[in-house]
Point group: C2
Chain length 126, copies 2
């Protein structure tokens, strides 16, 4: 991400609409936080982990086995999810159990999956 050099020698065609919409937009900060949430959900591995945890609490090596991925990878991605406060964990001896820590997330992911299944045939083209 870089700084925008305030371009905008752009011709405005509908100043009234622009002004009106400008006032109604979400704050910059909200957009940024929302974007980073979606960014986190926008990865196969992480989505799989979330789907997994949606079904049951589970420990790291179980997730790794279930998804057929390395322990290291799962652990790395879990730390991403942890930092975003999307999962929480519980330690029991040497084993660490993870759970989803956010009701909203389940809803959003569910919506995403539903959207996909309903928009059906429409693949993206190259």
């Amino acid at each position: 991400m870089k700084e925008h050099n305030a371009v905008c020698d752009v011709t405005v065609i509908h100043e009234d609409v622009v002004e009106k919409v400008k006032k109604e937009l979400p704050r910059e900060e909200e957009i940024e936080k929302t974007a980073s949430l979606f960014k986190i959900l926008g990865d196969n591995t992480r989505l799989k982990i979330i789907s997994t945890l949606q079904k049951s609490e589970m420990c790291v090596c179980d997730i790794a086995h279930l998804l057929n991925m390395s322990q290291s990878l799962i652990s790395h991605q879990l730390s991403v999810l942890r930092n975003a406060r999307l999962v929480k964990y519980r330690r029991s001896g040497k084993v660490v159990y993870y759970t989803l820590d956010d009701e909203h997330i389940e809803t959003i992911v569910q919506y995403g999956l539903i959207h996909i299944s309903e928009s059906g045939e429409g693949d993206e083209q190259k």
Copy 2:
């Protein structure tokens, strides 16, 4: 993305749970499509464009002006949104007007924004 070299000399601690959950998971293809949807939503510029179009149909240079970004950038990102079938457009003379082409998207984005505002104080740490 690379091929996984079928690691999994991983110790499985809870085989029963693993087997059960494995059956309940969404199909690989669904996960992938959902992830790419979230990936597209996981970008500031694109989220801003979507928020903008949520308020009103708008042409490219209006969006560029409104968001204080270059016409080229907006055009590029609109093409991403077009390929994902999230927006549609209508031509009128030299001007091209864009609209959201997906009811679900609005809902999902709305959910994202709500989630953010409700999880309030919790910033992510470095």
